[in-house]
Subunit: 189 residues, 2 copies
């Protein structure tokens, strides 16, 4: 009765619990009301910490991408970096139920200054010798391929069908290698 404890909600707590709920029930059942229930709070309470559900999903997607960057170690060259990053993103998307669908529908949080953001994103590849334009284009290609692939992988019936006719993980790696090799061909020199 009357549970009014000192620790109040934080955005991090909300996101963490949202991931738990996602794992347990799937994206369809990830509602603000259920999430609030898990946090022993009424649904409107969430709106003090978060502007709307889209922002919450955006924060979750941000975490999934962040895990991919964190899983990409120091690389020999930009091709190595892209391969590592593609595999890490693939793993990160697969590590959360409906991770790919979540990222497919999430809007990016806080549109900061585009140029600053761009050079931050390009930084790891720039450090390996790519110009910023190329760094962004190549990374976008790898993300698109990986997100698209993971989308199919996350689609139950589609996955069951494709599993019967190909080795899913091996074919992903082959495709990723093909993409990175192809990007290499376009390099001057």
């Amino acid at each position: 009765m009357a549970p009014r404890p000192l620790p109040s909600l934080t955005r991090d707590q909300i996101v963490a619990q949202a991931f738990i709920l996602l794992e347990e029930e799937g994206l369809e059942s990830l509602s603000m009301r259920r999430l609030a229930g898990k946090l022993n709070v009424q649904a409107p309470a969430l709106y003090w910490h978060v502007t709307d559900k889209a922002e919450l999903l955006g924060m979750m997607a941000r975490d999934i991408y962040a895990a991919a960057y964190a899983g990409t170690d120091a690389a020999q060259d930009w091709r190595d970096w892209l391969m590592q990053f593609g595999r890490a993103l693939h793993a990160s998307l697969a590590s959360h139920r409906d991770g790919a669908r979540l990222c497919a529908m999430a809007r990016p949080p806080s549109p900061l200054d585009a140029q600053i953001q761009a050079s931050r994103i390009a930084a790891p590849l720039s450090a390996l010798g790519l110009e910023e334009d190329q760094a962004l284009a190549h990374q976008a290609a790898v993300i698109a391929f990986t997100l698209g692939w993971s989308t199919y992988e996350a689609n139950g019936p589609m996955r069951d069908f494709l599993r019967q006719i190909m080795d899913f993980d091996a074919t992903f790696t082959i495709g990723l290698e093909a993409l990175v090799s192809g990007l290499d061909l376009r390099r001057p020199g």
Copy 2:
């Protein structure tokens, strides 16, 4: 042959009206109730023609893919076919509001026999000399890349951000070319 007393609903009508509603209001507002309203019918009436909303979305996704295949003409070789198909799919996804998100969440309709379906899908590339395994793997790679790319393109804030730092269409084509070239490298001979 036998004349019907009144023109009743058909699945095709429902799908056609769903595309109109999608264009006008977006995926968020594509509800069974609104769709029924547009068809001058009550919502439960739709459930006589369609098992559920997921099936309806599946039929819409099927049409989007079908347009991509229809937009792929006779090709010189399998690389040409993949390039054409990638561009046609890109165009088809972009031609409907939220087309990529729709395909990302739709489940494929009617899981027929996997082997039969597989050879149907592989047919155009098999005719150009690819073995069925390669045909499926290469087509899956192109679809994944294109769907993933279109997903970002359809994401309003993300698109606005990326537009500032790259030429979206040109970079798509470059990535697609890189992917297909890279697949070519893996060909024996």
